[in-house]
């Protein structure tokens, strides 16, 4: 990496000035750490500086400490655009629109589940469909699917798939109001209509995790978020909008590819294909993207519905006794209109987060009442071997990074290389030896998702904690894992 061309702003922030490449409208900022910065590869630098060339971009193009190369934006990329002369780009959101994390608390501790771990794993695997072409338990009519994609979490509540508390604890209450089913293609409808309530595959997972007092960094914050007992059982879900979101991204990349000339937009990478936010094409994509975002909220909520059912069946106790409640649900592939101070004035901007999580600090009206005095829960998914981290949003994030932080550990090794390095069966045995039971429909996929293929989650979490854009709350370790 040509780090000598960068300005070191602080111990954890490096700035790439606008003269780094022709066309940059703002500098790019790499948020990292003294130990991680040397592993940031050239593709990431190339991609984030391409983002800095896009019209209407404000302040900086950011790359978070878990950043790695993607398409268009790097994974871990954050950029905010003017609503008057800025753009919207599928490449700034990702194919899996509203891929995100849900974290659930329970009233159980590890001793309560220890003897039934295998039964629980098998029941969850049987209840939550995963893998290639999986269909959910819901057979939705087209009008129902339209309502689901437009109303998101509210639709789940109306149909008995969610509790009031679930909905209050989902980002934006699980509904982007810009959703308009008329902007969605027939192909996207056909791909999505049978997939609600499915996990998918790749790096998507459902995990049972444990919070132990040794790994709680801030006891008060942990209690506010619902982690209130020793060796408490938590449930993490990582998935998105399935084929529905992917088809919408595919559809609109082609639309934007064709209309670039019309709007005089040139981009350095076809995956950055964009349209003006306020153009007809841009508005239609925003409407469709919002449908996919809402569908992803529905998808994760239906998985929660299945998780509750599986726990009831295995433990034979009521929902009240189980106490499975949503701590929070965050999107990490999304674009949303949010207000920030630009040049001394408040301005509404379209914030793109691709592999990045919202991290609002205390006092924001968008945060549920229960958490408003402390900040938003931020859920960071690691590799399936290493578990997750729970963080809290900060005022520094609001001021410095458009209210954004990291989303995961970040890959360091390709899937093919990981499979050349280790066999899936060996990963499974290693995980079992360390107390993690794992189940998957595709064993070699375990090798692709092995812990060594990712950065150390503790390193990237320490980086955002040091920068101040999120605060460490707890580290969560897996005991059961279903890999899609």
């Amino acid at each position: 990496m040509k780090k000598e061309k960068f300005l070191q702003i602080s111990s954890h922030i490096w700035e790439i000035p606008v003269d780094y490449k022709p066309g940059m409208r703002v500098p790019a900022r790499i948020l990292s750490s003294p130990t991680l910065i040397d592993s940031v590869d050239e593709k990431v630098i190339d991609q984030i500086t391409n983002v800095a060339c896009l019209p209407g971009i404000k302040r900086y193009a950011y790359c978070m400490p878990d950043g790695h190369s993607g398409y268009g934006f790097p994974i871990g990329g954050v950029a905010a655009f003017s609503l008057s002369d800025g753009i919207i780009s599928p490449g700034g959101i990702g194919f899996d629109i509203n891929c995100g994390m849900r974290l659930l608390r329970t009233n159980l501790n590890f001793d309560d589940i220890k003897e039934k771990r295998e039964e629980l794993l098998n029941r969850l695997f049987a209840t939550i469909p995963s893998g290639v072409g999986a269909s959910g338990f819901l057979k939705l009519s087209r009008p129902d699917f339209f309502k689901a994609m437009e109303k998101g979490g509210e639709w789940c509540l109306e149909h008995g798939y969610a509790t009031q508390r679930d909905i209050e604890h989902i980002e934006d209450r699980g509904r982007l109001e810009q959703a308009d089913h008329k902007t969605v293609s027939e192909k996207a409808i056909s791909r999505g209509i049978n997939q609600m309530g499915t996990l998918g595959s790749g790096n998507h997972y459902l995990e049972i995790e444990i919070a132990a007092s040794d790994n709680i960094y801030d006891k008060n914050l942990a209690e506010v978020f619902g982690i209130d007992r020793e060796h408490q059982v938590l449930i993490a879900i990582h998935c998105g909008s399935r084929g529905f979101g992917h088809q919408i991204a595919t559809d609109y990349l082609e639309v934007f590819d064709k209309c670039a000339k019309k709007y005089g937009l040139t981009v350095r990478d076809r995956e950055l294909m964009s349209a003006p936010v306020n153009s007809e094409e841009g508005k239609r994509y925003f409407g469709a993207m919002a449908c996919a975002a809402n569908a992803a909220f529905v998808n994760r909520q239906l998985i929660v519905f299945g998780v509750r059912k599986a726990f009831r069946e295995v433990f034979g106790i009521s929902d009240e006794q189980l106490g499975i409640e949503t701590i929070y649900d965050v999107a990490h592939n999304i674009a949303k209109i949010e207000e920030y101070e630009i040049d001394g004035k408040r301005e509404k901007l379209l914030v793109h987060r691709k592999g990045a999580t919202r991290s609002f600090g205390p006092g924001r009206s968008e945060i549920p009442a229960r958490y408003r005095s402390v900040g938003q829960p931020v859920i960071v998914g690691g590799s399936m071997e290493t578990g997750s981290a729970l963080l809290c949003g900060t005022a520094i994030a609001d001021a410095e990074t458009f209210g954004s932080t990291l989303h995961g550990a970040g890959r360091t090794m390709s899937r093919m290389q990981a499979k050349r390095t280790v066999r899936g069966e060996a990963v499974k045995q290693k995980m079992q030896a360390s107390g993690v039971l794992v189940k998957t429909g595709y064993l070699p996929g375990l090798a692709e998702e092995a812990g060594f293929a990712y950065k150390n989650i503790d390193d990237v979490v320490a980086a955002v904690d040091a920068i101040g854009i999120s605060k460490k709350v707890a580290r969560l370790y897996p005991v059961l894992n279903i890999k899609g």
Binding site: S69, G202, S414
Partner: protein, 141 residues
């Protein structure tokens, strides 16, 4: 093997490269290569038939739409490709049409692998050197 996989462009996803002596050969092998990422081909029957016609503005957009259609059929029709009986010329109009033979997704008798969800525009390309057509795409997992 007429198709190959590559990890040179992306760590999170996978590249697909297909070569053939005609555009039709390159396209059909690419579709089979894409399917082989999702399922063990030997496990598939060929008793389901899908009529297909895909048109592109140029060879590259035809390649993109063709592979995108294979992914669409997997999700929307639960269809996994076993073989293609298609025609496509090495000159405009850029089109592939014919019949796809394959199988319905059935985890009880198929070794399903990883779900491919989209074809990206990243490093997408089709070239023709003398009598060899080469298509390359990065697939989103």
């Amino acid at each position: 093997m007429p198709y190959q996989y590559s990890d040179s462009h992306t760590s999170a996803d996978i590249g697909l490269v297909s070569c053939g002596s005609s555009l039709k050969e390159m396209l059909t092998d690419a579709a089979l290569g894409l399917t082989a990422l999702m399922v063990e081909p030997k496990d598939l029957r060929d008793d389901r038939i899908v009529d297909i016609e895909i048109v592109g503005d140029d060879p590259e957009s035809l390649f993109y739409r063709w592979l995108s259609e294979i992914i669409f059929l997997k999700d929307a029709e639960k269809f996994l490709l076993k073989k293609c009986v298609v025609k496509s010329d090495d000159c405009p109009p850029w089109k592939i049409s014919g019949k796809l033979f394959g199988d319905a997704i059935d985890p009880s008798r198929q070794r399903l692998k990883i779900d491919i969800k989209a074809v990206t525009l990243y490093k997408l390309g089709v070239t023709r050197n003398e009598n060899v057509w080469r298509g390359e795409a990065v697939l989103d997992l």
